[in-house]
């Protein structure tokens, strides 16, 4: 359901060019004149509902972050997950940063995400631009090539056999290439590019600019929003990818973070000690639970860091591609 976004009204209408809804003048902040003021009960119910909704998302995150920063004593006192802050320590993170399986996996994940996102976004933007001028040669058959993949997947078994035939087993490329192009994302970008004022592009072309140059210097700069959103989609996909690693990666050394998360946090295997540290996870001063939660936080952080910057673009970026038409 990766379609529209927040308060969709303005961008949708301005871009699509539909009838702009009559702008209501709003009194007492944002309420239209005709709307009766909410009663205290209604307000309370609404307030509670919203708090619950936000709480359902935030409380687990809060407890996870807090537990990851709690000392062993606090965790034992709480009997497990910590809800009331006690003694705060960052030992669990020190432990992770010092290397070992988790640190290595984080590096692997970062590498795959960065390389994969760059490749995917560039390839998709190029394809989207290449398809954005109707009437170019073989335009429709090429478009069809993209569309078919959205309706019919090859299936896990043939894909697996083929990828292993290509010799990609145990290679990071097996985590990147098979899912590098999402036809859906290409189409979103294409639709956005098609909405760009053709006059500017035509002018540049007459001035002798190559298509590559037009894409790079004119189209991309005005398409930052959609690019950001598409890059986020790809990036999150790579960061979260788990099953491809189950299929294609043999060495534990090459595990991405999600595999580590599953093995040591979800399945509860003891986290192997990280080489070079004297701190003993299983028995020392650090509770194994706080290390596990620190692994979770590590898996969360990139999403949390990137998300706010991109979130505001959802509106412009996605709604357009999906709802237009």
């Amino acid at each position: 359901m990766s379609t529209a976004t927040s308060d969709v009204t303005k961008p949708l209408d301005t871009i699509v060019g539909g009838p702009v809804p009559v702008k209501r003048r709003r009194r007492s902040k944002h309420r239209p004149a005709w709307e009766e003021p909410a009663g205290p009960v209604g307000l309370a119910v609404k307030g509670i509902a919203l708090t619950v909704v936000a709480g359902v998302v935030l409380i687990p995150l809060y407890s996870i972050v807090l537990t990851s920063m709690s000392s062993k004593a606090t965790i034992s006192a709480a009997g497990g997950m910590v809800f009331v802050p006690g003694e705060i320590t960052f030992d669990a993170y020190v432990q992770l940063v010092n290397g070992g399986v988790v640190g290595r996996a984080a590096l692997v994940s970062i590498g795959i995400t960065v390389v994969g996102t760059i490749i995917s976004t560039i390839v998709s933007a190029m394809a989207a631009y290449g398809l954005s001028r109707p009437g170019t040669l073989w335009h429709r058959p090429i478009l069809f090539v993209f569309l078919v993949t959205m309706f019919f997947g090859a299936g896990l078994i043939p894909t697996y056999l083929w990828v292993s035939n290509l010799g990609l087993i145990n290679s990071y490329w097996a985590l990147i290439l098979p899912g590098a192009v999402s036809a859906f994302n290409v189409l979103i970008m294409r639709n956005f590019f098609m909405g760009i004022d053709g006059g500017i592009l035509e002018a540049a072309r007459i001035d002798g600019a190559s298509d590559a140059r037009i894409l790079w210097q004119i189209v991309m700069p005005i398409s930052k929003a959609v690019t950001a959103v598409i890059a986020l989609f790809y990036g999150v996909g790579y960061w979260n990818a788990f099953f491809n690693a189950v299929l294609y990666i043999r060495d534990t050394e090459k595990w991405p973070l999600q595999m580590v998360l599953r093995a040591y946090v979800l399945q509860g295997q003891p986290i192997p000690g990280s080489g070079g540290t004297s701190v003993d996870v299983a028995t020392g001063d650090i509770a194994s639970l706080s290390v596990k939660m620190a692994v979770m936080v590590l898996a969360l952080v990139p999403v949390l860091v990137v998300y706010p910057f991109v979130q505001r673009h959802f509106t412009k970026g996605i709604i357009f591609g999906a709802i237009k038409g």
């Binding site: 009997g79 070992g100 399986v101 697996y160 056999l161 292993s164 035939n165 010799g167 087993i169 145990n170 189950v246 299929l247 294609y248 043999r250 060495d251 534990t252 050394e253 595990w255 093995a263 399945q267 509860g268 295997q269 003891p270 986290i271 192997p272 000690g273 990280s274 080489g275 070079g276 003993d280 996870v281 299983a282 028995t283 020392g284 194994s288």
Partner: protein, 553 residues
């Protein structure tokens, strides 16, 4: 399972191997060894073997030429692991010069721990130098090894030159499709007296070679194991603290003790899932039993199995089982003292010592002396002659096969040799320093670089020389000797049988049933229905298949 200073093996013998045996005990649901023995059939059998791929002759097997460099203080009794109280000061160099030709090979092994760096690793470099060739490891997570192996075998092109295969990870169709298509038949190199070219391989007992044979041909290089795999352990230190001296001679005693030590207020529980313990004390066969009338009975049809289920259900019903039994690793709870009694692999014993002694000097665990559920004599069914073997990738290049066998001969060097010592402890001054007592003390570098990997390819007969834990060799060797005294060979012991494919999954429901009945979610009467289903789903035909094998031999 983690690296800590004193956990590095003094002897090469299996530190981590035992942890999966521990898992074998703890996580029976995941593993289910007997049902995965092997699978598939239906191909024409060769002249030398029967329908189950079992050889009728033993001509293909290597001659057994035992070597003893050091006399054990606790000799092997009925297959128990020999124990050594001291490390010899003079080590024997069993192979004169590096046998390798400078080639490079890849090897895939499991590891239950932190994978060491595979490049720039001084330990691997030193062993490679001793081998004269380069072994490049692909180390996969032991807990995921079944999946890794299945995916690896499906991509034969990318298969490493040398692949470790734990017997409980053997996928279906292994014997019929995988082995002959993917792996190298080494019979012509190792059969009979030809093995004498590699004395350390000739030192591997015949039973292990037999178990590594498929369809009358030797394919596997074994990692031989002692016959006793599991024990029921208790936290000696905790019981002492409570002022309890355990006196357990039957099943009810054990339940009573578990209830006695349970105290939810202090998060202390008597037990984890005791299913493996239940099968031990009730003498449940691993797979088949010859009934009084000479007919085969499957394990799930036996009285012992039923009694074990009832007993384990009683354990759960007693309230002594830790509430996190299904989502927290048993070992972790045992370490934390939240679970006081645990069934686990014997190897977990010294692993726990390595793990715990540095932070908890008073840590102590002990196994209960073997007892039967009814107070009578227990029956320990022997484990497989080897629980892990390895295979060489099929190749036409005979030189490479011979070179790999040369390397295997080095890796299989037994206790008391220079080769064994280097593989177990690394390089002196780099991976360990001599302590005041002359025992090697691992350095920090050893913690990152030195993990047991070679032994998952091939190993000499198992030995116990963990002299760094005071009293351990004595206690564990004595237990092992005692338990081995009760050891019995189950029918079909040590045979590599290729079960027809269609029966591969009919045993599956019992894994769930064992959990459900134990936890009171289902009753023991559901067992009858499950057995009836099993029979009609092919159980009776499977019995016929095995009966035929039995009659033949």
């Amino acid at each position: 399972m983690k690296t800590s200073p004193d956990r590095q093996p003094l002897t090469q013998a299996p530190i981590h191997r035992r942890s999966f045996l521990g898992m074998l005990a703890a996580g029976a649901a995941v593993i289910g060894v007997p049902s995965l023995l092997s699978a598939c059939g239906g191909t024409a059998s060769t002249g030398s073997s029967n329908a189950g791929g079992v050889a009728l002759t033993s001509d293909h097997l290597p001659t057994y030429v035992p070597i003893t460099y050091v006399e054990p203080d606790y000799p092997s009794v009925n297959g128990s692991v020999p124990g050594f109280e001291t490390i010899p000061t003079e080590l024997v160099q069993s192979i004169k010069a590096p046998p390798g030709k400078g080639s490079s090979f890849t090897a895939m092994t499991p590891l239950w721990g932190t994978p060491p760096p595979t490049s720039g690793n001084a330990y691997y470099a030193a062993v490679d130098e001793m081998l004269g060739s380069t072994l490049k490891f692909q180390i996969a997570d032991g807990n995921e090894y079944g999946t890794v192996l299945a995916t690896a075998l499906a991509a034969p092109k990318d298969l490493p030159d040398w692949v470790s295969v734990p017997t409980w990870n053997i996928p279906p169709r292994f014997a019929t499709e995988v082995v002959p298509n993917v792996f190298q038949d080494i019979t012509q190199y190792v059969s009979g007296d030809k093995i004498k070219k590699w004395p350390n391989l000739a030192n591997i007992p015949t039973a292990a070679w037999k178990y590594s044979s498929f369809d009358g041909k030797v394919y596997g290089l074994p990692f031989p194991t002692g016959v006793i795999n599991d024990a029921i352990f208790y936290r000696d230190d905790v019981l002492t603290g409570l002022g309890i001296t355990p006196d357990v001679t039957n099943g009810q005693d054990l339940i009573d003790l578990m209830v006695e030590v349970t105290d939810p207020a202090t998060k202390r529980y008597g037990a984890h899932d005791m299913w493996t313990a239940a099968t031990i004390i009730h003498g449940v066969v691993p797979k088949w039993k010859v009934g009084d009338d000479g007919q085969l009975l499957h394990r799930v049809e036996t009285e012992e199995y039923r009694a074990a289920l009832e007993w384990n259900a009683a354990v759960f019903a007693s309230g002594a089982v830790h509430p996190d039994v299904d989502n927290t690793w048993a070992k972790q709870l045992f370490w934390d003292g939240e679970v006081v009694i645990l069934n686990d692999g014997i190897g977990s014993w010294h692993e726990n010592l390595a793990q715990m002694l540095s932070t908890n000097p008073t840590w102590s665990q002990k196994p209960f002396a073997p007892f039967g559920a009814d107070g009578g004599e227990p029956t320990y069914f022997k484990g497989n002659p080897c629980n892990i073997f390895s295979f060489l990738k099929k190749t036409d290049d005979e030189d490479r096969i011979l070179e790999l066998l040369d390397l295997a001969n080095v890796i299989a060097a037994p206790f008391g040799t220079v080769e064994f010592d280097l593989i177990a402890n690394g390089v002196e001054g780099v991976h360990y320093e001599r302590g005041a007592d002359g025992l090697p003390v691992p350095t920090d570098l050893a913690k990152t670089e030195l993990q047991p990997t070679y032994m998952f390819l091939v190993d000499g007969p198992e030995t116990n020389a963990r002299v760094q834990y005071p009293g351990f060799v004595k206690a564990s060797s004595e237990f092992s000797q005692l338990a081995a005294g009760y050891a019995e060979e189950p029918v079909f012991w040590g045979l590599q049988i290729s079960e027809p494919d269609q029966y591969a999954s009919i045993g599956q429901p019992f894994e769930d049933l064992e959990k459900d009945i134990s936890r009171g979610r289902k009753s023991i009467t559901d067992l009858d229905a499950a057995v009836a289903t099993w029979k009609s789903a092919g159980g009776d035909e499977l019995r016929g298949f095995y009966q035929h094998l039995l009659d033949e031999s």
